[in-house]
Amino acid sequence: MFKKAILKGSIFVIILLIINLSLNSIFIIKTNHREKLIEGLYDTSQQPLDVLLLGSSHMNSGISPNILWNQYGITSFNYATGGQPIDVTYYVLKEALKVHKNPIVVVDLYYLGLTEEYGAEGYVRSALDNLNFSKNKVDAIINCTPRKDWINYLFPIFKYHDRWKELTKNDFEFDPANAYYEKGFAAESDSIGKDNTSDPSTTGMIDLPPKSEEYLNKIINLSKEEGFKLVFTTTPYDYNGTAESTNWTKESAKMFNKIAEISKKNNIPFINYNKITKEMGFDFKTDMFNEGHLNLTGAKKVTLKLGEFLKENYALADHRKDVKYEKWEEDYIRYLYVKANTALTEETDIKNYISLIKNKNYIIVASSNDTGISKNVALKEALTQLGLKVNQMNKDGSNYLAVINENKIQSEILSSSKLSKELVLDKDINLKVTTKSDDKNMPSLLLNKVEYLNKHNGVNIVVFDKLSNEVLDNIYLDSKNKIKREVK
């Protein structure tokens, strides 16, 4: 009877554990770090990668796998997550190596500057919570988190269970595959507009913080044991940004000199991009997003430089012509497309805007119920650029409605009474535009009955993206003809 009870009890506990593990994925916060780690580590459909990119946010916004692909035909994935300490990086690397054998591993070493034993919980969690349960994960938890927190890392539901109140559909149907095309890279487009205040050419060395040194050595030893090639990097940043931090090394420049020495001793290339900014044509003012992180243009420069280095020093095949890698080209196109969409939604000049929306994947709806349209020269010019004939419309009428699809004008009407049009794109997409909405008497667009209303009587332009089936942008012009948007 005792044995039977033990057996039944064990079965019960196992069922509970399984349910518990599946609940974890619902409760863990859905960040883009989660998206990319799940995709990068566990999407079994991907080809073995040439290059693995690891590190903290500096790497996350530093190296773009899509540019490496487009320029050099190199396949890579960016596993970096914000604030990721080097001990966590070691275990993320081990996790990635389960799928990718003998890649070139590029590690950004900014986080070696951390002087505390453990990284901040939020940062550590954005990596560890997204690893599947395995011995490696348990090792990571034991070594990268304080003992008192172990249990809460092992069972993330202990930490996140009070999110029950805020769970959304996305928590239940979270699909990381949608983000795969980014290959883990994310950078901002704004620029800092200031120069670097620190001097990366400082000479002299200091010792690394003990745990940083330990894990740097662990990564080096792992590369020797497993036989993969290692490249260390650090992207340009202002060392003074961390000078005030109590948990950070005071002399970053000297720390990197020490790292250079260690790397040399172990025959590992270490590229300090802070020291070769001139060579790259890198301008701190325009190529940084803030004092720590590269922006899109900065990332492009550093990525090209890294790609050049990889191409020169390692025998990497160019996969661009290989049919097995078709998906990579598709992803690259999508990456460009999303980048273009982002640029569109950030544009404030109507002239530039018109050139950006000339795209066969967009449906453009221009509408107005304001007599001002025939008097506004700048606006008329802009609309004319789209091929619209608003200029030639001399008859009176305040209701104006134009629809452009695949760069062709589908309809353009000026009338004194309300105008409406319904577009059925496919059976699931119903787009309804009108110059006067039922309740507010203003131009309005309804997509599958959800209203996108600009509370403005001038001209409204709505851009619908046929690839994502979403309203991409929704603008009007202010009195100075500057683009304004309702916050989404």
């Binding site: 009877m1 019960f12 609940l23 409760f27 927190d149 202990f158 930490k159 269970h161 009070d162 109140k165």
Partner: protein, 495 residues
């Protein structure tokens, strides 16, 4: 090691597995080791006092029994009385030192101060040893039982030590009398699958009630009771009703986990509660609330004082004594004494008003068997208990008065404009709290006639297991635990 912590669950599963593997004759010894480990897990140094109490009662028990053999009866009784008094006062002495010394000290100083005398006595700066109020009463019961020849003196020091320190009960009872408990350590406890399963179920239920319902209520209660000046009217009424349920659920869940743990190991300990809030008088309330304490006071204090056999006045006096002592037992503050006094007063008042009540019933031809009458009685009892709890919970006499004063403020709009969701529980948590209370009331109503565990055991395995798993998941998801919360101690473990 709190009962609802993961570490206790692990501890319990491991020690009970080992318990059933080792031969029967060593099991009591294993339980003794585990009980001392459990006790020492909170603060090892206090183990000295529980050990000292045990040793005192062990030797006085043996000596009392020896004194029985003295042929001169008068002398025998005299010696026994001396031994009992010495043993009781040394046990109470330890309790007094830790729990009451500072209180009497400051109270005495205040009184003397009125007469212009100022005294300065050193304060005692040690925390209350875990469970001291509970195990002291249990130790006293042994001495008195031996004295009364209800039990024979225990020859095995280890078994007596286990009786005093048995881990399911040591922190907050139920307080067992030696005549109910001691012999159980000599019995053989075989592994009975259904008993073990039932015990675990009781522990699961206790855990659910504690971390899902009781600790949720605690948040709102503490918000209001920690800042009595900031709240008025319905906020205070809700907090007070919530506390009434919180303390019941908190103590009931503790007792259920204790009872369940003991049941798994093959021991039968008193059920401390019998749907107390369904009582129709304060007297009945006390036969349903903290039953082991009431029974202890009855047996070892009320009856020796003469109970109700020495006339009305003496009965009232005895009742008042019992409840003042009971109040003081809960804690060394005036609020606890007031709380006890109120309960004594309620009962005396009920006796005094009985003729009036009976007359009203016959004059107005009130149907006492009707549901409405019974409901009314239960409601009145509930309100009286509620009122007394204000003193139990409030941080000081002044804040209790503030709370009572501020509650006389009619602000029903706060129930509708969302203000009640700003007392620490948002609308979703509030709903869970209310559903939790309703669920416990339903379970209590069912328990008056039936045993839910037996009903459940008659169902098919799919239904049973689904029920268990759902309960565990509810605890996991809705429980007030984890890094975002500080674990709420069981209220009674602080007495």
């Amino acid at each position: 090691m709190q009962f609802t912590s993961l570490i206790f669950i692990m501890f319990f599963l491991i020690i009970s597995t080992i318990y059933f593997i080792i031969p029967n004759k060593y099991r009591w010894f294993w339980l003794l080791i585990c009980s001392y480990l459990f006790y020492m897990s909170s603060d090892p140094k206090y183990v000295i006092f529980i050990a000292a109490s045990t040793i005192i009662i062990y030797f006085s028990g043996l000596l009392i029994e020896n004194a029985n053999k003295i042929s001169n009866e008068k002398k025998s009784i005299q010696i026994k009385k001396i031994l009992v008094i010495a043993s009781i006062s040394s046990n109470l002495g330890i309790l007094f030192l830790f729990k009451y010394y500072n209180f009497f000290n400051t109270s005495l100083a205040r009184v003397l101060n009125i007469f212009g005398i100022s005294i300065h006595m050193p304060t005692f700066r040690y925390l209350l040893p875990l469970g001291i109020s509970f195990y002291t009463l249990q130790a006293l019961s042994y001495i008195i039982d031996v004295y009364r020849k209800d039990v024979v003196a225990e020859k095995n020091l280890g078994k007596l030590a286990l009786f005093v320190s048995f881990f399911p009960q040591v922190v907050a009872g139920p307080i067992e009398k030696s005549k109910n408990m001691l012999h159980q350590f000599d019995e053989k406890h075989v592994f009975d699958y259904y008993r073990v399963k039932n015990g675990l179920l009781l522990m699961l239920w206790g855990t659910f009630v504690k971390i899902v319902v009781s600790d949720r209520l605690a948040i709102l209660v503490n918000t209001v009771y920690d800042n009595p000046n900031n709240y008025k009217g319905f906020s205070i009424l809700i907090a007070t009703v919530f506390f009434t349920f919180q303390i019941y659920l908190d103590f009931m869940s503790y007792s259920d986990i204790a009872r369940g743990a003991a049941e798994v190991l093959g021991f039968n300990i008193t059920n401390n509660f019998k749907q107390p809030y369904l009582a129709n008088s304060i007297k009945e309330f006390w036969s349903r609330w903290h039953i082991s304490l009431t029974s202890w006071f009855k047996d070892y204090l009320y009856f020796p004082l003469g109970g109700n056999r020495r006339g009305k006045l003496r009965t009232y006096y005895n009742i008042m004594i019992i409840f003042l002592v009971s109040g003081l037992w809960h804690g060394a503050t005036f609020n606890f004494i007031i709380w006890g006094g109120l309960h004594g007063f309620y009962q005396i008042a009920a006796y005094l008003l009985k003729p009036l009540k009976d007359k009203a019933i016959t004059t107005f031809k009130i149907r006492t068997k009707a549901f409405s009458f019974k409901f009314f009685q239960v409601l009145i009892t509930f309100m009286l208990v509620n009122f007394a709890w204000i003193f139990f919970k409030a941080k000081s006499f002044l804040s209790a008065i503030t709370l009572i004063k501020n509650s006389f403020y009619f602000n029903p709009w706060t129930l509708l404009d969302g203000s009640i969701f700003k007392l620490g529980l948002d609308s979703k948590d509030f709903l869970v709290a209310i559903v939790g209370i309703v669920l416990v009331i339903i379970v209590d109503l069912i328990h008056r006639k039936r045993n839910l565990r037996i009903l459940l055991s008659k169902q098919n395995i799919i239904f049973r297991w689904t029920t268990y798993i759902v309960v565990v998941l509810i605890i996991l998801v809705l429980g007030m635990y984890g890094p975002g919360y500080s674990m709420q101690q069981f209220i009674y473990s602080q007495f």
